[in-house]
Amino acid sequence: MVLSAKNFVADPQFVIPCIIAPFIFTMVSLFFIVSSSSNNVGASALLAAVLGGGLMGVWGTTVYGSANSIGFDRWNGTMEATLAAPSPLIWIVLGRVLWNTFIGVINGFIVLGIGMTWFRVGVGLLNPGLFVLATILTYVSMSSFGLMLSTVYVLSRKGGFIENSMEIPVYIATGTSFAVALLPFYALPISFIIGPTWGIEAIKRAAVGTAYAYGPLLPTGYWTDIAFMLVATLAYFALSFILFQRVETIAKKNGTIEEY
């Protein structure tokens, strides 16, 4: 984690692209909301849009940063040295993932700042305590998801394809900017198995108070959302531990570690 932080300070440019899409998407959301003010879209919608933008930012850095934590090793020729280290690879990657997700949280605050100054979005949170709790747990959940994702990079140099392809679908599937209930019925199971979907719902509940995502589909509450997210997060961590052991062995056997 410390090494990732140092790398970021030395060369922050690669993280910047990860936060541009969320920023632009949020701006479009805010313009939509402002232009539809005749439909009585209130301050809570503006705040929800800004929160959605912030969460997209965390997703962006999680998806790109986590996957790239191994990709950069391949690119820089340090993959073999990393794998040869006595520490288990999963702990090394987990540190990097935590840092990347943290950068996403900072991006969230940047979006919030712009929303407050440009669109005069108020930050009157309904329940600040529950909001902070949900944010921290969602941060952990996203990190666990990123950790699971990074195993693909150990196996294949084509991990970039997955990270690039996942960015926008993950914004849609987890209801960052609109209700998951708007998705076609067949897409909902995908949405529900992604832990952060529940976390995002809990964050919005704590901030603006409305049952935002599922509507009549799943009449859940704040604590149910948190419980579902925790279950998914634990499953991700367990799966990551299993996957890391397997993919490391396979990559070593196949001799594909240095491929990029």
Binding site: M27, V28, F31, S36, F161, N164, I172, F178, L182
Partner: protein, 288 residues
Amino acid sequence: MTVATEEEKQPEKTLAEKETLAKKVALFYRVFSGSVLFGRKGTILWDSWEMWIMQIFITPPAEMAFFFLLAIAVYHDLTQAQFTVIGNAVQSMSFAAVFAVANITSQDKWQGTLQTLIVTPANRMALFIGRAMFQIFMSALITAAAFIYADFVFGINFAHANYLALGIAIVLTSVMMISFGLLISSIGLFMRTAMIVANIFLFLTMLVSGVNFPVQALPLWLQPVGWAIPMTYGVLAARGAIMGASVLSLGTILLKELIDGITVLFVGYFLMKGFERLARKSGRLEEY
């Protein structure tokens, strides 16, 4: 180091003067066609099966779906949502036309081929436009695919569409956005990478080019940025063509796009020359 005297330089000058226009055009064409061929072979980052899948089958429908659903959530109005679908169908070409083209110089840095390219006496315009040509094909292909999604997935009504006008709008916008990509690419000569600027402009068009809402809805100070990007006119033309407007009635918009694109191309060309000079002076050509 040997310095050429005035006498030694003289014969070269005379030879250059003797070069006929026909020879210059032939040389330009030779560099250009070679560059077109290399443009595809050299774009290893973009010309792979997974990039084709991502650019044609994943990113365009995902982007369209995001803004379609967002508009539904905010406006509760299908017409407004479909407005964003057409805009994003045109915008989907940005990955090829802007991002891939903008990264041409950066890619040369990564591959270590930039210095070799820079020292050639070949015409820069022919060299760099040629290398972007493959992306015109990609851009048009991506946008055509996006319009198929617009029809079959998002229910856009093409019953009155003027397909000739739509086709011209797509191809013209692809060509003109390449010039925009080349402008950004020139920055890559001087900076360590054009990746950041390329990323900004990849998505910026969603905000300023009338893709999701009319340019007039932007703050006054931001509107000129929108009108300076060729895609803004392309989106307008595509919307008009789908509603049945003929090529003739879209003439003014298409002409504005053409003028804008050519202007952008020349600005990009002069920027490239300037950045090349700066990079040579400061020895930053190999920085990446």
